[in-house]
Subunit: 558 residues, 2 copies
């Protein structure tokens, strides 16, 4: 059994496979040459392997055919939904020689069930598409949105186990019923979905027998072609909590307080804790003309940008959802727990924003009017994001070190990979205690400084007990020296978090080969499962697959 | 590769394995003869395969050794934690010839972390043991309890994906970090636990790479030796909601209301909807001497027992947990939604029960005193169960048709299998809509009547969108005709729910071979994974393994 795929697929095999795919999918859905293939090779990383070609199946049946052909000719396939995996590799495969399976044409919203509050969608469905559709057909169902922008795939994010902002933010826990094509060409339906008569495929995730859904996330055994996603019925009341901390050390007691509020059910959504530059960078880029070319920003500049953006050294945000009395009770609990000297606590509601809009309209011919309108934009986008409406605004951070700053029509159609942004993401998980966060920050922050980069971080309550950090290394992709330093910085951070025990919940293609670092046994089991379900090793070689193999087992491969 | 295990293991192989086990585990931990083996063969089913022997490893290392020996001699192993899988097969394997691995000696509570609210436990740890331990060491952490009684294993229930009553009732979602010995003798640690430096093994379940935890539940690839279980910090406030419905059809709007209260976060725990006889049977047995020997009870008798027990045609129960204001808000929302003509709604709090106790003490020399004390017992047990204290009281239902009624010292040390109770459980999942529940009841209730059994059912909110039914066929195990009819009734129910699309979330050994009924593909994938992780087919052959094999695949086993 092959464990290392060759870096390049044989030219003859590829040509023969391309002909076979063209016969099944139509020649227009088999791309082999630039310029058609070029956009798929764009990346936010300093470098990434390009594809050996692109195929675009339109149905699950075509995916089955495509996989069979790939097996026949030994051509590895790298499935993407929309390819917006920014900071983690974008559309690029972890190794060269793979043919991208672009699932963008499979963008059907198969079903929306308002009574039971779920949708069944294909991988090409974007956040914008689902969000718009839910409003257009008159439902009052909300999609949990991530900050990855309107054009990102919902399924793609689930398959990488991403998280959003609402009570449905741990998206993998809000999936019920996955359909996938395994590497051997078999179609798998998880949960109850494989029972032809089942009435419960999309309302209860676990049918009798082992749970296989987890095998289809962060893996390389199958191509997901459809899934059931739970949607949140619009709550009676919504309130957005923002707390600015003005003392850097105050994050320690604040994290302990946050844990208490998650554990007792006061906050049921994914709360985010952002440092100053991460909060600032969601609205503007590095002040290159004034502060000089070179990162990191001085303490004075950080203070100035904080003042301009009106944020704290740390900013904590969380959405409250529910009946009016529940939300009101949660507000009071948060006020009691969180209000302290050195903190600013705000509760933002849609009503309040409407009042702000009205004021801005009233004052529109005064100097204050346009500024107020401008000032209202970001809170409105934040609120929208928490209420089922995706926004591209939060991609601004990807442009932090871009020479040209934000595109003129930002955020319309913006795409950090196509726009040549430099962005490396690393997502270690940290215990949700003040002491752990302090130790973690002391570990990673100096690495940024030592490599000459701004420290951008959010910490999100991915469980009631743990924070998922997202650390950004933003760099100027036009500056090859800075790009090389960015990768050095990333690698130093990688070593520090792996050895320090703050293992990432998700990794980019830049680190997949190194996932074995410090691990016992698990990856060998993963390899054995893969050999069983994808015996040809066809699906995404190298995806969540460390270079080290499995230790000797007692039995032979079975 | 073997897919069907022989019904009996070769005598020579077994003898040689027994000697090898005795050398590793000590001869006292290898049981081959009656009377030592006999208790393991007791079952609540009409019949079940007995074990070929019993081994009792004391550590995970001994489990590894035991599995290696089993592979060497081709002896299949059937792991049990405490063997209290009543109604589903108890300690019995699904096929003959298997040696039981009794993990009862592995009963260490490895860690309790109060700050992050979790425990790490071995499979032998019982509900009582963990509950007592948490109080003894002075923590304010609550265990989610099931009604299976104090002597049931926590891990055993998790591994079968059972559910309890609290906000942590979907137990599988409150597990983080599993250690298991695979069928090939390898040790697997899931989540972050396989990283030697990891600080997050028990506070976030998903490390980088595919999620394997689900493979270790309702399966036969491994023996779970340890897991991290999240515990609920004692809430500021607790309230128990009971609603009696007096009109049978009222369950339809009540289920729709319940869905709304789950979806909007008012009820965050597992609510239970019990029919009259299920509620009655948790306090008493079939009134054999008065109503005659033969089930089912007449409508008049049902009405009489409802009056005596003070329950409705349907009883809905749910726990409310949280800060005082949260619980108060939830009470108001429930009152507003649920209070209607023909329903009785009660809110029970620990304070109210204390007042009742005080009143009983005050009146202890009057005729009312002892009756009040007696009357308080059941509510107190129900409250305890919802607040981390297991109780054997709810096992009374297992004795419903027992000739001798409840044991004199019930519930102390009671054990339905050892006590020769007749009990078959079937657990189909039903959409949480009134219309679906109506259709489901119309399908199954007549089957009970046709076979001459009382209809006992609960429906529990296992997700926000689905109800997990537990249907009891209670029968007199001393009456072979009634036992045969009970199995006929069960099989008719099985056929009805499988063909009707209300597939069970969990099944007993009596149905595992039939799990392929109406299914496409999934079980073949399960078989392929098993061959990869347990190439010798050593672990629990037949457990969640239908008789039908996998359809032809493209590749060979890999």
């Amino acid at each position: 059994m092959m464990t290392d795929m060759p870096d390049t697929t044989s030219t003859e095999g590829l040509a023969a496979a391309a002909d076979a795919w063209a016969a099944v999918l139509g020649p227009q859905n088999v791309l082999r040459e630039s310029p058609a293939v070029a956009p798929y090779a764009c990346t936010t990383l300093p470098a990434a392997p390009g594809p050996a070609g692109v195929i675009r199946p339109g149905t699950a049946g075509e995916v089955v055919e495509a996989v069979r052909i790939a097996n026949r000719y030994g051509v590895p396939l790298y499935p993407i939904s929309r390819g917006k995996n920014w900071g983690y590799g974008d559309a690029c495969p972890p190794t060269a020689g793979q043919v991208i399976v672009d699932l963008g044409r499979m963008d059907r919203i198969v079903e929306v069930n308002e009574e039971l509050a779920y949708a069944v969608i294909e991988p090409g469905v974007t956040q914008r598409q689902l969000s718009d559709h839910l409003r257009e057909i008159g439902t009052r169902l909300w999609l949990d949105c991530t900050g990855a922008g309107p054009d990102a795939s919902v399924v793609g994010n689930v398959v990488d186990r991403g998280f959003g902002h609402t009570p449905y933010g741990q998206r993998f826990h809000h999936v019920s019923g996955i359909e996938a094509v395994l590497g051997d060409g078999q179609v798998l339906r998880t949960g109850f979905g494989h029972y032809r008569a089942a009435r419960t495929a999309h309302i209860a995730p676990y049918g009798p027998g082992p749970v296989l859904d987890g095998l289809l996330t962060q893996s390389n055994v199958a191509i997901v072609t459809r899934l059931g996603l739970w949607l949140m019925p619009q709550p009676e009341s919504f309130c957005f909590v923002v707390c600015f901390l003005h003392d850097p050390d105050d994050v320690v007691p604040a994290v302990d307080a946050l844990r208490g509020l998650r554990l007792d059910g006061t906050i049921r959504s994914v709360a985010h804790v952002a440092n100053d530059l991460r909060a600032v960078s969601s609205g503007r880029v590095f002040p290159r003309t004034l502060a000089g070319d070179r990162a990191p920003l001085s303490a004075d500049w950080r203070a100035r940008l904080r003042r301009e953006a009106g944020v704290g050294v740390w900013t904590i945000t969380a959405g409250l959802y529910g009946r009016k009395a529940q939300v009101a009770a949660a507000r009071r609990a948060i006020a009691k727990t969180f209000r302290r000297r050195g903190r600013e606590l705000h509760f933002l509601t849609p009503q309040l924003l409407k009042a702000g809009d009205a004021a801005a309209r009233l004052l529109r011919f005064t100097p204050l009017g346009p500024r107020l309108t401008e000032k209202m934009l970001r809170p409105r986008k934040v609120l929208d994001l928490h209420c089922g409406v995706p926004s591209g605004h939060f991609l601004a951070g990807a442009y932090w070190r871009h020479r040209d700053g934000l595109p003129p029509d930002f955020p319309e159609g913006c795409d950090p990979a196509q726009d040549n942004c430099g962005l490396l993401w690393l997502s270690p998980v940290v215990p949700m205690t003040g002491a752990a966060v302090r130790a973690f920050l002391a570990l990673v922050e100096p690495i940024y400084a030592a490599h000459g980069f701004d420290f951008l971080i959010t910490l999100s309550t991915v469980t009631d007990r743990a924070l998922g950090a997202v650390m950004t290394v933003a760099y100027d992709r036009d500056d090859s020296d800075e790009a090389a330093r960015a990768m050095d910085c990333y690698q130093a951070l990688w070593a520090a978090v792996m050895d320090g025990g703050y293992i990432p919940y998700r990794v980019g293609i830049q680190s997949m080969a190194d996932l074995g670092r410090g691990s016992d046994g698990y990856w060998g089991t993963v390899a054995a499962v893969r050999r069983a379900l994808d015996p040809g090793g066809i699906i995404a070689p190298g995806r969540y697959e460390p270079a080290s193999g499995r230790p000797e087992t007692m039995g032979e491969d079975g």
